[in-house]
Each structure stands twice: as C-alpha cells, then as structure tokens.
C-alpha cells in the first residue's frame, strides 16, 4: 500500500482534530455556551477522513452531520467550525444556520441540510455537470443508514447509474437512525443490498479502519474519474453517542457500545502507526498542534461578533 509516513500523520491529524473539536463542542454544549443542538460523529471519524483524503482537490463532496472530518480535509478551518456553532458572523453561514449545516463551494463542499439524503441527487447533479463539461472531477455523496430509507437516496443512486455519473456514494452504517435500529429500517442485512439494485458496484468495508476507507474510496474515485460510473461503499460503524447531545441513547444496548468501543478508529489507527514505526514524537507533535488549534478556535469564536439583527433579512436572493 502506497501510504507513507507523511500520509499516515495527515490522517492522524484529521482524525484527532475531528474528535477533539467535537469533544470540545460537547463540553461547550454541556456548559450552555453554544446555541442549539450538537451533532457529532464520534467513532465514525475514519469514514469522513479516510474518504476525503482519497480525493483530488477539485472533487466535490456533499457531506452529512457525521462528516466533520471531510469538511476539515477540504479546508474548513476549526475557527470557522466553532464560530458556526456559536452563531457568529465569522461562521460559514454568518449565523444563518447552525452546527454542521455549512459548506463552501470555493472549497468544493456542498452545504448539508437536515432532510436526509437530499445531498445524494444534488451530488449526482454536480457530477453530471462535470461529465457534461468533460472535467476530470468527481462528486462524493455521504449518507447514513437511515437516509437510505428515503426516496432521494434511491432516486439519486438510480439517476447516477443510468447516466453513468462520476460519483461515489459513501454510507455510514452506524446502525441507528435516531432511536430506530437498522432492523426496523430495512429487512435486508446491509445497506449495500439496497444499492445493489441499481446495477453498479457496491462494497462493504470496515468503517472504523481509516486505511480501508481510504483505499476503497481511491479505487471508486479512479473508476468514476475514468468514466466507469458510480460505486456505493457501505462503511460499517457504530454511532457511539445519541443522535444529538440531548439524546442519551439509552435505547442502545450497552454491550453493543462496549463491543464497538474496542474498535475505536483512532485507538486502532494509533496501533497501526506504532506498527509502522511512526515515531512517537511525531504523533505527539500532531496531538500538541491539534490541542492548540482547538483552543484557538474556541477563543476565536467566542471573541467573534454576533451578526446584527437586521442581517436576518439579507441574502434571501442572489443579485
């Protein structure tokens, strides 16, 4: 596998930055210092980081609320993330929207919205534009297992299939859609079983293995870029917290969480780094950098101005 130390440390940086930022936001939430809800992807970081690291800079992503890592890889700054959570003007939506409902097309991120699976046909449409213009770019659409029950999931996959669009679908199968377990979402064992119906390759991979996600995405991206059409990658993982922080997830069996805690993607990757003889001091340097970036981000956000009330009326239309 052609992943060198530099890449390994890059993955590590984004994994622990994602975890660290979200842990920090959870604290801020408990302290009553952020506005609104708090949505994190604890335990699912390998999916967004591994996949986004496999893309070219011009490739477009349509992430979900469990994909902070992909945002960061695409260039969203921790300061912008914190400012968004605190409803500040320096956030990516200038206080118009909260938590991870943001994006920036100059960084090739399509902003996420709450109705699940809406990003799937939208990403397919971006891929359609690349195909029409003969640009060597692809789109990546993320979703969860819950989203795969929505029509837009199926309509988007089918459209991408019949038009042979350069798109990769990445599903976090984290086993719960809010409080409803997978078995009540679908009567097939895998989300990929649903995707199979559309006639393009599907893969089921270990979503807690960042290198597996990276490799699978690279392969699918290459296929899409060369005109081979879409691929669906189901990443098996576990939602380790509630749907959002108000939710204690008491409906999830403790044993299930314990089982998955042992498969934590970051601890696993740290073992991999040691096996590959990445120097401890290099890992520590990344940890120190991340801690500083997180605290700088909180500081920046808390010092940033709130929007003026009248800005609520601005920007409904483009001019």
């Amino acid at each position: 596998m052609g992943v060198g130390t530099e890449d390994l440390l890059k993955f590590y940086y984004y994994l622990i930055l994602t975890r660290g930022l979200e842990d920090r936001v959870i604290k801020l939430y408990r302290q009553g210092r952020i506005l609104g809800g708090c949505y994190v992807g604890s335990g699912e970081e390998a999916i967004s980081v591994g996949s986004a690291c496999a893309l070219e800079p011009g490739d477009v992503i349509a992430p979900t609320h469990r994909d902070l890592g992909a945002h960061l890889v695409k260039g969203v700054h921790p300061k912008e993330y914190m400012a968004q959570y605190l409803g500040r003007r320096t956030g990516l939506t200038r206080g118009k929207d909260g938590n991870v409902h943001f994006g920036d097309l100059s960084r090739h991120i399509i902003g996420f919205i709450s109705p699940m699976a809406d990003g799937i046909p939208v990403a397919a449409g971006a891929a359609l534009a690349f195909k029409i213009r003969r640009e060597p770019r692809i789109a990546v659409a993320y979703c969860g297992d819950g989203a795969s029950s929505r029509g837009d999931f199926h309509e988007g996959l089918n459209l991408a299939a019949v038009l042979t669009l350069p798109v990769v679908f990445i599903c976090h199968n984290n086993q719960y859609a809010y409080s409803v377990p997978l078995s009540r979402q679908m009567a097939v064992p895998h989300v990929a079983d649903r995707a199979k119906a559309y006639g393009f390759p599907t893969r089921i991979i270990d979503g807690n293995d960042v290198l597996a996600v990276y490799e699978a995405t690279r392969e699918a991206a290459a296929r899409a870029r060369s005109g081979g059409g879409p691929t669906f990658i189901e990443c098996k993982t576990m939602r380790m917290r509630g749907h959002a922080e108000h939710d204690d997830a008491s409906y999830v069996p403790r044993e299930l969480l314990e089982e998955w805690r042992r498969k934590d993607p970051i601890q696993r990757f740290e073992r991999t780094l040691r096996e590959r003889e990445v120097p401890e001091e290099s890992m520590r340097a990344v940890q120190v950098r991340v801690l500083k970036e997180i605290e700088d981000a909180v500081d920046f956000a808390e010092k940033s101005p709130l929007p003026d009330a009248h800005e609520a009326l601005e920007g409904v239309f483009a001019t």
């Binding site: 920036d104 109705p115 449409g125 359609l128």
Partner: protein
C-alpha cells in the same frame, strides 16, 4: 411581427438560450426522443445532443436535486416538470435545498423549473393544479406566470439568466390557445414587473396566466356598459409588483382579484392584504376575489366548468363591484 403560439414562444426562448449559453441544459421526463409531453422540446435532442437534453428516470425529486447540484457548480439547468402536479414530489428539494441555499451560504442556485399548470383541459385532479402559491410562500424562490407568447418568451429568458431558482408556471391551456406577436430579435423582460394589459378608470382587475384573456373579454363586455376596467397582469408572482398594483387601485378605488387556484391563502389573499394595508383610504368597495373553490380540480365538463373562473363569471363580479 410574426404571430406565434405560447408554446412556440417557450420553445424559442429555450432554443435561443441553449444556443448562446453552453451552461444551459434540459432535464426532465420524455423531453428527449419524445420531445416532451407537450412537444416543447421537439427537435432539441437532434440539435443539442443527449448530454444537454436529458431524459431522466421518473423521479422528480432526484432530477430536481440533480439540477440543483449542477447549478451549484456553474450550470444553468432548466427542468421540465411534465405536469406541475408532480412538482409536489420534488417539493423538499425545491423549498429546502434550492430556496434556502443562498440565504445560508451566499452561493447562487441559477435554475428554472418549468411547471405546466392549470385546468380547462378535462385532465382531472392530478393534471390540472395551480401550485404557484406554495412556492410564493417559500422564501428564496421566484415565481413567474406569463399570459401571452410575448411575455412567455421574454420572461423565460429572464428566468434562465436569473441567478436564483425560478418556478416558471406555464399554462397548459394557453400552449395552443394563446397566439400573439413576438419581435424577431432578442429581448428579455424583467422579472418582478406587472403589465397593465388594459387601461381603465373604474375597476382594477388583477390576475395572471389563463385568466388574463378571460379578464380582457369580461372587460370588453363591461366597456359596452360604460364601465372601464383596468387589467393588471401580474406576470411575476414573486417578487410581487405591489407598486403597479397599488397605483392602479388608487386610481380606480375598486378591485377584483381573479385566479384559477383555490382561494384560501392564494395569491389573491396576499394582494388583498397589501391593498388593505397600503390603499385603504382609496377604496370605494371591498376588495373582491373570484377564484376556484376549495376543492380538488374536478374532471367532468360540468364540474370543471363550474370550478374554473371564466369571462362570464368575471363580468358578473365586475358588475357587482361597479354597482357597489
């Protein structure tokens, strides 16, 4: 000047915009090989190729979502909703994804959804609806509803060039029943401007779409009785040209609003409220509405005829207002 149909005007606008702007492309059901359910895009596949005239699966939310994605990365998609009735299948993508995007992120979503709407073709509850008010009520969308070939062409070109999502409501009855002159060269009409289709001093009649022709007929009948009706054709339902509406109402003091969509919370309700707030002291009579009743669009001739406003019903209401 050449006289063409409303359908031909829409076809010309699409053709010209596609011809001069590589970013414009079409998506929809049966628009390619078949040329569209109403034959608007007949010949487009041969001229522009299958990459720009895309027959989609039967999946309105999917292809509207795809249009949004293409618009976000620099294209100018024009979606054909086969019937406006099916636009509800794409409602979420339109009102949640397209409409709110610029407000949230400051990024334009330049796209048009063409919505063939309206009754009088005995097409029943699922091929006759007027969904325009749903979208007027959703911030971030522009809503256009032309009544003549001239307006249809100029407003569609403006809609395609607009950097916002535009719901372009084209009336199916008018496709082959409305004929009119269209200048040979390039022209674009601004969105958000009503057009006074008939001058008059006694009563203001505010309407749009297929009710404009009915209103003009009713106005002619009234003129024979010495009542001069001013007809304001809204042309764009959002943004609403309140300036033209209020100027006319202040001149006449009496207003009848006519639309084919149901009355409750329809466009007429908004216009009546604006008039009540802004022109109350100019009013000589209550603001009246003539609309469809609060029922689905019925199929059989006597039922649909009863359901829809027409010239005779408009004239009757105008008489009531004249004698108020």
């Amino acid at each position: 000047m050449e006289e063409i149909t409303y359908l031909e005007a829409i076809r010309q606008a699409l053709w010209e915009e596609m011809d001069q702007d590589q970013r414009v492309f079409l998506l929809g059901e049966d628009i390619g090989v078949y040329g569209g359910a109403f034959k608007i895009t007949k010949g487009f596949l041969e001229k522009f190729g299958e990459e720009r005239v895309i027959d989609t699966p039967l999946a309105e939310s999917g292809f509207v979502g795809a249009a949004i994605g293409a618009a976000l990365v620099g294209m100018r998609p024009v979606v054909e909703m086969q019937f406006a009735d099916f636009i509800s299948c794409a409602f979420d993508q339109i009102v949640n994804m397209a409409a709110k995007h610029h407000y949230r992120l400051g990024e334009p979503v330049p796209m048009v959804i063409r919505a063939p709407y309206g009754g009088r073709l005995h097409a029943g509850p699922f091929h006759s609806q007027c969904p325009e008010a749903w979208f007027v009520h959703s911030p971030g969308l522009k809503v256009v509803a032309p009544s003549t070939p001239y307006d249809a062409k100029g407003l569609l070109k403006a809609s395609i060039r607009d950097p916002n999502p535009v719901i372009y409501c084209e009336h199916k009855y008018l496709y082959r029943h409305a004929k009119g002159e269209v200048p040979p060269g390039e022209y674009v009409l601004p969105l958000g401007q009503a057009d006074v289709k008939r001058q008059g001093s006694d009563i203001t009649l505010i309407t749009y779409g297929a009710m404009v022709q009915e209103g003009l007929e009713a106005a002619d009948q009234m003129s024979e009785q010495g009542i001069e009706v001013e007809l304001v054709d809204l042309r764009t339902l959002y943004p609403l040209d309140t300036e033209t509406i209020l100027a006319s109402v202040k001149k006449t003091g009496k207003t009848l609003i006519v639309h084919e969509a149901p009355q409750v919370c329809g466009i007429g309700a908004e216009i009546a409220a604006v008039i009540a707030q802004e022109a109350f002291r100019h009013l000589d009579a209550p603001v009246m509405r003539l609309t469809a009743p609060h029922t689905p669009v019925p199929f059989s001739s006597p039922l649909e005829d009863f359901y829809l406003p027409n010239a005779a019903k408009i004239a009757s209401k105008l008489k009531d207002l004249a004698s108020y």
